[in-house]
């Protein structure tokens, strides 16, 4: 088993109920596996914020980081999580 932290902000944080959530997962769980687990727990309210129902893929404006790295530069949804991994959900942003 591995323990990971899921960090979120703004409306996703509202759905999950915490900025920093600890989860215990099976070893070898991927990012996709984590998402399924979260969607099971938090339902369509979370799913629609992350996934595009038309394409079945993640919203193009949404970013998932694993330990600070965009999963697009790791192994995408198949990125394997490790014990202690920190997964960040970043909605679209601007300004600054």
């Amino acid at each position: 088993m591995i323990t990971v932290r899921v960090r979120s902000m703004f409306d996703i944080k509202e759905v999950i109920g915490a900025r920093d959530l600890s989860l215990v997962l099976d070893e070898g769980t991927t990012v996709r596996g984590l998402l399924y687990r979260l969607f099971e727990r938090y339902g369509v309210k979370l799913r629609e914020k992350i996934m595009d129902s038309n394409t079945g893929n993640m919203h193009s404006h949404f970013t998932i980081l694993v330990d600070g790295r965009n999963i697009n530069y790791l192994n995408g949804m198949k990125t394997k999580l490790l014990d202690g991994s920190v997964i960040s959900f970043l909605p679209s942003a601007g300004g600054g």
Partner: protein, 630 residues
């Protein structure tokens, strides 16, 4: 030349030494080559402010340059570039401001106002369409900026006038003093000090003209395209209009790049719960403000109800101010950031430079380089927000150590010595903004190479900070390819945001993919001058080259395109990007690639003759060649 639309076709010149007021035609060729805003302003600067001029002397010029889109029916474009030689950096000084003043200057009939010389006594300029007066401002000297605006409108008996002014910091020529109009700022680079050096307290303007449009049908099509894009943005109205730029605090912390404790604790000190955008919105926001005609209304008005800073109200703090007075000074007490933001507005200080300078002083104190005695008894420790607020006042009035710190981190470090240079977080003298570029390499390369110094606005890497895949996606930690990307970011942002001009936030969040095409449609339909998207980008390249040439004339070269030692020798200490750095080899690799794509000399960093002539800047190439000759 009669301009059919967009441009007013007129430049106003006010010489404060001779009191001569003159109007001249906007040159059509300049308008088409440099578009407007920063472009036109920097062309004037290059042509009229010769090398080695004292930025605080009468030979410097202060240029307020609007653009062809300003005052039109389009939203999100009513901005101005204020240009001068910067007293902080000695480079081109350029800062943008929104609010209402830019449109009013345009309605008064001018594409730019050029202020020259130095008044004998304190004055303000009153522009009422074609009537211009230079009036006595001795009664307003010393007054803070928000009151100044009210008092001057009262004095001219015109409540509809808009006023751009300086506060005590500009009057005392603090080298990072800013110019305030309404609650907006031409914040960076010390342009307020230039205004103070001319004894110019304020400019009041009231205009009754209209901005003409050559092809209204095509203009309305472009407008529809813009509004549709703004509505489709997943962030602009849903989040940004509610949270403002402070929403980037959360993102920067997750990315591991919210620079903290004078850049020594990035990823370690990251109090998102207490100073993030959500906390600001939830506990302090009471309303929203907007620039002229803007539907987004991203200006967040925040008010402190209780505690030691009760009563402070500000339009902000923006992301950068939350960085400079929050994470940089290790202050997690948000009311103190709100208070600092308000005080900087009132005194007329750049919030970024002021916070970074205070953080610098805090580190020097904790390192034992500055003593408590030298700080006039102030226990200026990281985290002490009361000391931080007191230092803002001392800098504004140049009191005690404030007089030295008012010179900026670069000059202060040179004077203090004792190894303090290591803690001065600037590039070319401009204090660094809030993104720790050890974790965003193209963003960092732009800090290192921008013509203004360490500036996030000139070539913001939206691909690295917001994962925007325009023109393509990048890995923010990669070194390869960042020279090419940086050039694109700088040239496109310069022409679209700084010259048209157009709000950089709406660019980032709604139109990045279609910006060049959309702005070419706006420009063409307004002015009647057809311009392709490629030519829009070329104009930005032209501005970056002439600005670079100005800096080369001032003695800047490749050696100045660098980072503070902390960035190059100390890795990020904590968080998800622990260990990231930009070392000499990585910097050189990025610079070599950048100069290659720019067509600049790899040894000196100077624009080549070939590049300058390609851009129609032969006279600039000739001058640089003359300067190179022994």
């Amino acid at each position: 030349m009669v301009f059919n639309g967009g441009y007013m076709g007129q430049i106003l010149r006010v010489d404060l030494t001779t009191k001569k007021i003159s109007k001249e035609e906007l040159d059509e060729k300049s308008a088409q080559m440099f578009i407007g805003g920063a472009g036109v302003g920097i062309e004037f600067l290059y042509n009229e402010v010769k090398p080695k001029v004292d930025p605080l002397g009468p030979e410097n010029k202060l240029i307020f340059s609007v653009g062809p889109l300003v005052g039109s029916m389009a939203p999100c474009c009513h901005r101005m570039a204020v240009v001068a030689k910067s007293p902080l950096t000695n480079t081109v000084g350029m800062a943008l401001s929104g609010g209402d003043f830019p449109a009013e200057l345009k309605f008064a009939g001018y594409d730019a106002l050029i202020v020259e010389g130095e008044a004998k006594n304190q004055v303000y300029i009153w522009i009422h369409d074609g009537e211009i007066e230079i009036r006595d401002a001795t009664g307003f000297w010393g007054v803070q900026t928000l009151d100044t605006q009210l008092f001057i409108k009262d004095a001219i008996n015109e409540p509809r006038a808009k006023v751009a002014c300086i506060g005590p910091a500009g009057e005392k020529m603090v080298r990072y003093a800013c110019i305030i109009n309404e609650r907006r700022a031409a914040g960076r680079m010390g342009l307020g000090a230039v205004m103070g050096s001319k004894k110019l307290k304020a400019i009041a303007v009231r205009g009754t003209n209209k901005v003409k449009c050559t092809d209204e049908t095509k203009f309305k099509e472009a407008l529809r395209e813009l509004y549709d894009a703004m509505k489709e943005s997943p962030v602009l109205y849903p989040a940004f209009s509610k949270l403002g730029t402070a929403m980037v605090v959360e993102r920067a912390i997750e990315l591991g790049i919210f620079a903290a404790k004078n850049w020594s604790a990035t990823g370690v000190f990251a109090p998102v719960e207490s100073i993030g955008g959500e906390a600001q919105e939830k506990y302090y926001t009471i309303g929203r403000g907007a620039c002229y005609q803007c539907p987004v209304r991203c200006g967040q008005r925040r008010y402190v109800k209780s505690g030691p800073y009760a009563g402070f109200i500000t339009e902000g703090p923006e992301f950068e101010t939350t960085y400079s007075f929050g994470s940089m000074t290790c202050n997690n007490y948000l009311p103190a950031i709100i208070a600092a933001d308000r005080l900087c507005d009132e005194y007329g200080l750049d919030t970024i430079s002021t916070g970074v300078v205070i953080a610098f002083a805090m580190e020097l104190y904790e390192q034992g380089i500055l003593s408590r005695e030298e700080l006039d008894g102030l226990d200026l420790r990281f985290g002490d927000h009361e000391a931080m607020i007191e230092m803002v006042r001392r800098i504004a009035y140049r009191e005690g150590i404030g007089d030295l710190l008012a010179e900026g981190t670069k000059r202060a470090a040179e004077i203090i010595g004792k190894g303090s240079e290591r803690y001065a977080m600037h590039i070319k003298g401009l204090e660094l903004p809030g993104y720790d570029v050890r974790g965003a390499k193209a963003h960092g390369l732009s800090y290192a190479t921008a013509y203004t110094g360490g500036d996030h606005g000139r070539g913001y890497a939206i691909q690295e900070i917001f994962d925007t895949p325009v023109p393509y996606s990048v890995d923010r930690l990669a070194i390869e390819g960042k020279g090419k990307l940086c050039k694109w970011n700088q040239d496109v942002r310069t022409s679209v945001c700084d010259c048209m001009p157009f709000c950089a936030f709406v660019f980032d969040m709604a139109i990045a993919e279609i910006a060049l095409e959309l702005l070419s449609k706006f420009y063409g339909s307004l002015t009647g001058f057809n311009i392709t998207p490629e030519e829009v980008e070329k104009a930005g390249e032209r501005v970056n080259n002439i600005a670079r040439a100005f800096n080369v004339r001032e003695g800047f070269s490749r050696v100045d395109d660098t980072f503070p030692k902390r960035i190059m020798e100390e890795p990020i200490p904590g968080g998800p990007l622990k260990g990231q750095i930009i070392n000499t080899g990585q910097l050189n690799k990025m610079l070599d690639e950048y100069y290659e794509v720019r067509g600049w000399d790899k040894r000196t960093g100077a624009p080549s003759r070939k590049k300058l002539e390609e851009l129609g800047l032969k006279h600039v190439a000739d001058e640089l060649a003359r300067l190179r000759k022994p």
